[in-house]
C-alpha cells in the first residue's frame, strides 16, 4: 500500500508541474495535472500487472 502512495504522490507532483506549464489558468492547470496524474497511475498499474503476469 505504501508503494502505491509513493506512486500516487509522484504522479500528482509531476502532473501538477506539467499542467501548470501547459495551461495558463489555475483551474485548467489543476484539471490537466490531475488528468496526467490519473493517466500515469493507470499506465503504471497496467504495466505492473503485465510484468506480474509475465513473471508468473
Amino acid at each position: 500500500m505504501l508503494h502505491f502512495v509513493f506512486l500516487a504522490v509522484f504522479c500528482v507532483a509531476v502532473g501538477l508541474v506539467l499542467g501548470a506549464m501547459l495551461r495558463a489558468t489555475t483551474g485548467a492547470a489543476v484539471q490537466l495535472g490531475l488528468w496526467i496524474a490519473a493517466g500515469m497511475t493507470a499506465v503504471a498499474l497496467a504495466v505492473a500487472w503485465v510484468m506480474y503476469l509475465i513473471a508468473a
Partner: protein, 143 residues
Amino acid sequence: MNSSQQDNPAPSSAAALEHASLPVFRTLAGCVMAWAFPGLGHVFLGRVQRGLLFGLIILGLFIGGLALEGKAYRPIAGEPLTYLAALGAAGVGVPFLLAHLGGFADGDIEASTYDYGNAFTLVAGLLNLLVVLDAFDVAAGRR
C-alpha cells in the same frame, strides 16, 4: 472575421521576432534564478503564483526523495550513466549542491525506499530543467 479578431490579430512571425530582442539580462537572470532555486525564476518574472507552485512541488519532491533515503546522483568515474543522472539531478540547482555539501545526498542502498527516493530526486531535477525552459518562454513573451 468579426471585429474583435480584426482588432486583435494573431501573433505574426514578425511579432515573434520582436520578442527575440527582449532584454538579455532579464531573460538570463530569470533562467539562472529558475535553475538555482525552483520557482524563483517565475517569481522574478512576475508569475508569483506559478513560481510558488513550482517551488513547492519540486522542492517537495527533492527533499522527499532524500527523506526516502534516496541519493542525489553524483558523477562516478568509469560509469558514464552516472554523468547523465547527475546532470539531471543537478537541475534542481542550489538544493542539490546543499544536499551534497551537507552530506545528505548519499542515500541508503539498504533502505526499502531507496529506489523511490532516487526517482524523486532525479525527476525533481529534470522537472526543474523544464521549468527553466518555461521561464525562458515567459521572459521571451511567449506565455
